[in-house]
Amino acid sequence: MNLLAIDTSTEACSAALWVDGRILERFEVAPRKHAELLLPMIDELLLEAELPRSALDAIVFGRGPGSFTGVRLAASVAQGLAFGLGIPVIPLSSLAALAQAEADEHPGLPIAAMIDARMGEIYLGLYKPDAEGLVVALNAERVLPPEQVQLGTEAQWRAVGSGWQTYGKALSGELGSRLQGQPQPRYPRAAALLKLAQREARSSRWQTPEHAQPLYLRDKVALTVSERLEQRRLAAVG
């Protein structure tokens, strides 16, 4: 089986190929250059693997949560590639990709993956590796203030991602004493998505290209006219 994975949910841009068990990857931390970099990266990988694009079986992409523009970029490129090649997509969590990379280095422990969501909040996902070492989500991903983070019942945790870098202090109440080791600065990357995609592919959990849609978590992005009026009224009253 041949899979192509892409992730642009954070400052990092990456693409990776799974060619019959071998992983090739391109990875670059390059804010605001993802659109420019992504297709040339894929082109290079295909050349290096000497793989015609028609030999790809599915497109895996980091569907977020993360930067709105970034996750849309990966999703729209996944749509274009998958529709053009007539193959399915496998949407995967960018938080799970973070957790997988962490689990590969520190097997066994549960992991809190956190991405800075700006506006005083983080995207949070809690994971545990299964028997194969592939992470499984313990709950649905959420966006929330760092003060409200609650870990599961396990005594020892690892933490990973930009959420810790930005909000380490606010998180230390819940995490401080239960953390094992210093949290690593890490970005979600395509190679980790490829590992997780194996499990999805085995159970045929793929979808048609138009289902390549981001998970934004934040869905209220603007106030309607009547909400603005209501806010003004409340401000005047209060």
């Binding site: 659109a35 420019e36 297709l39 015609p52 694009r53 729209s76 749509q79 274009g80 529709f83 309607t224």
Partner: protein, 361 residues
């Protein structure tokens, strides 16, 4: 090698319309589909860029399938992909550009980022009796009010521009202050047809000065004051709408006359959403026929944003050997005058990867 029979997919996502179309150099338009987000943004009182981007990504592939079905074609029948690369909302542009460029990459076909306004200028080429350059173009939409000299395809000179509001924007704002729901331009134009255009005395902006520039914000202020001091009933709404429309149309028509006189061109192309305005069409027709000038419009559905105009503009440039990618880039701001003349159809330029791939397999 020349490609006589070239099918181009056009993708438009620069603002709040998702438009897709298939255009063939010999057979013309093969299919087109559009989803307008107007109703989605209405509750917000204007376009919310993030909401627009999200919706484009939901609609693109279903619309693409729809145009393929209309044309009785499969994805492999697409010879080239053209998408709007600017100007417009950056996030919205990116969705169409990413999908278009990666679709072309997968199909191993050339892709090209197209200038949205060139699309509007060339939309009349989709009609039965297409205009031949040189011509003067009046671009009047929600975002633009420009007079452009089209000396040849791709050779554009900006003759005049608005110093403040665009015409459609002025229609929408005046409609709003008279209590019509967003976007009120078309509704205001309908009301105007029943009103008395002489009921309110409004100045004709910029007509007392030479030149081809426009300004509508002063007129908008006059309308606001006139509305405030009026009875604010149905009758004053109709009459003020008619008076406002008369002032705008008289200004647009006079500037067009100056433009064709100054350039000596005998063809005028009107593009953009306000081009649907009936009073504008009637007055232009009258003045143009007096001066021996021919006026061309795209059909009403291609006056506003659509994929067909992007397909046709892209097809001409792609056939001239232009292409973009695989790096994806959009230009939210992109002066029309930076475009270059379109080369005579020398044929599609094969993309590197295609040769590599066929050599490999």
């Amino acid at each position: 090698m020349a490609t006589p029979n070239l099918t181009t997919l056009g993708i438009e996502t620069s603002c709040d319309e998702t438009g897709l179309a298939l255009y063939n150099t010999e057979r013309g338009l093969l299919g087109h589909a559009l989803f307008s987000q107007i109703d989605i943004h209405a509750a917000y009182g204007g376009v919310v860029p993030e909401i627009a981007s999200r919706d484009h990504l939901r609609k693109l592939l279903p619309l693409l399938q729809e145009v393929l079905d209309q044309a009785g074609m499969q994805r492999s029948d697409i010879d080239a992909v053209a998408y709007t690369a600017g100007p417009g909302l950056v996030g919205a542009l990116l969705v169409g550009a990413c999908l278009g460029q990666s679709l072309a990459f997968a199909l191993q076909r050339p892709a090209l980022g197209v200038h949205h306004l060139e699309g509007h200028l060339l939309a009349p080429l989709l009609e039965a009796d297409p205009p031949q350059p040189p011509f003067v173009a009046l671009l009047v939409s929600g975002g633009h009010t420009q007079l452009i000299a089209v000396r040849a395809l791709g050779d554009y000179e900006l003759l005049g521009d608005t110093l403040d509001d665009a015409t459609g924007e002025a229609f929408d704002k005046c409609a709003q202050l008279m209590g019509l729901p967003y976007p009120g331009g078309p509704a205001l134009a309908r009301l105007a047809e029943e009103g008395d255009p002489t009921a309110f005395k409004l100045a004709r902006p910029m007509l007392d000065r030479p030149g081809l520039d426009f300004s509508f914000s002063g007129l908008k202020t006059q309308v606001a004051l006139a509305w405030r001091d009026s009875a604010q009933d149905d009758r004053s709404r109709r009459d003020l709408a008619a008076s406002f429309q008369a002032a705008v149309v008289e200004t647009l028509v006079e500037k067009c006359r100056r433009a064709w006189t100054q350039t000596g061109f005998s063809t005028l192309v009107v593009a953009g959403g306000v081009g649907a305005n009936r009073r504008l069409r009637a007055d232009l027709r009258e003045l143009a026929s007096r001066d021996g000038v021919q006026v061309h419009y795209p059909r009403p559905e291609f006056c506003t944003d659509n994929g067909a105009m992007i397909a046709v503009a892209g097809a001409l440039r792609l056939a001239g050997g232009e292409s973009s990618g695989p790096a994806i880039s959009v230009r939210p701001r992109w002066p029309l005058a930076e475009l270059t003349r379109i080369a005579e159809g020398s044929g599609l330029r094969a993309q590197g990867p295609e040769e590599l791939d066929s050599a490999r397999s």
